[in-house]
Symmetry: C2
Subunit: 241 residues, 2 copies
């Protein structure tokens, strides 16, 4: 079983994807929002690439059954119900709804890897459960950090590195790592006792602090607050069994 991680979020070769489980990660903040929202009772999440698509979809569906969420330049979009802070997605606000979500990096990533055999949604919130699921699947894995506007993202890669650490600890020598996986694992080990330090060092972390979302950094650094393993299938993200 090989674990690879794509350090830069360009479209992967679809032949490679066909037989792989893909884990999409956007710690700050899209996949953290998704996992949090589902844990608080959201029924399904539809990740869309543009604001226009989100409004379009809202028109088709019954307005009181859905929520529009996401960000541009980290901020809530005009006319949307919610922004991109996981803390906003609490049961009283979201239970029983379908969430249409559009963010700068994270929601686009799902469309880039849509030909993956199985597409899982990971962040520090559910990293232990994701590792267990990957071990169960017994197939090659591609970790796909959503990146920072097409570039390498430190925090996403560190989260990928933690996933690699957990899988190799339990899977032993049967797990083969690529150079990129070694890189992610080393980065994780460097920051494992202080994830927040890495978030504050990262360009996207700095940007969020500047824009007034500093509290989200500490919130998104929480590990294993849920054991949900959401998956992306036929355009939607739901909790898998």
């Amino acid at each position: 079983m090989e674990i690879d991680i794509q350090l830069v979020p360009s479209p992967p070769n679809s032949n490679i994807l066909l037989n792989r489980a893909v884990v999409v990660i956007d710690v700050l903040r899209a996949t953290s929002v998704m996992i949090h929202a589902l844990s608080q009772g959201v029924l399904e999440i539809i990740p869309v690439s543009t604001v226009e698509e989100a409004f379009q979809m809202a028109k088709i569906l019954q307005r009181d059954t859905i929520l529009l969420g996401g960000e541009r330049e980290s901020k809530k979009i005009q006319g949307f119900d919610l922004g991109n802070s996981p803390r906003e997605y609490i049961a009283e606000r979201v239970r029983g709804k379908k969430l249409i979500l559009t963010t700068t990096n994270g929601t686009k990533a799902f469309h880039l890897v849509s030909s993956g055999k199985e597409i899982l949604v990971g962040s520090f919130f559910n990293i232990g459960a994701i590792a267990q699921r990957c071990l169960k699947l017994k197939r090659d894995i591609l970790i796909f950090p959503s990146g920072d506007e097409g570039k390498f993202s430190l925090e996403d890669t560190i989260c990928g590195g933690m996933l690699i650490e957990l899988i190799t600890k339990r899977g032993g020598k049967a797990i083969v790592l690529t150079d990129a996986s070694h890189c992610a694992q080393i980065l994780y080990r460097k920051f494992k006792d202080n994830l927040l330090k890495a978030f504050r060092l990262s360009s996207h972390g700095k940007e969020l602090i500047d824009r007034g979302f500093g509290e989200d950094l500490a919130y998104c650094a929480q590990i294993d607050i849920t054991s949900l393993v959401p998956h992306f299938r036929e355009g939607g993200i739901k909790i898998s069994d």
Copy 2:
């Protein structure tokens, strides 16, 4: 002054390149070969992408003034004078000649970054001199590891990380690092006392050992054996002043 490093060798945006100095790195082994060959008296190196181009060019030029060098699957190409081990490129063999070189990753990298403002050739052999040159240039830098068949390469990124370490040590707070640069610097610090360990961990290093080129790993791990700073300009690589 910003230092970025492109962790995966895809074509960079040429707008970004226009104002940057680019440092191309292929530790195992193309840029190590180039620097070594120039230090032993090669007059110029023409990096070409294919074996056919190399033979074509050899036809145009006077055969006794040139050498054909390079590899496919790490091995010397049939009809070529030299392979891709820096140890082969010694004065008695190469002095006064022009070298036409084709390798799997390194020679292609130069054509990907050819619109860079200044394109330098780096490896551990000349890393100190490259750092000094970068500081003198006072412009943004893109480090371009040649990678491993389009993928991230551990040893090239570690070499880039050493360059970042040297520049930031001398350049102080005026040097701005991207997430990718932080990543490379952390990788370098992890392996700085044992570069060979990193080479042996890397997929390309393992491949070279399997193919009988294990000695090249220790050879290419030598630091600052020359102060030459070669540059790529108008299709050729020469020593710059």
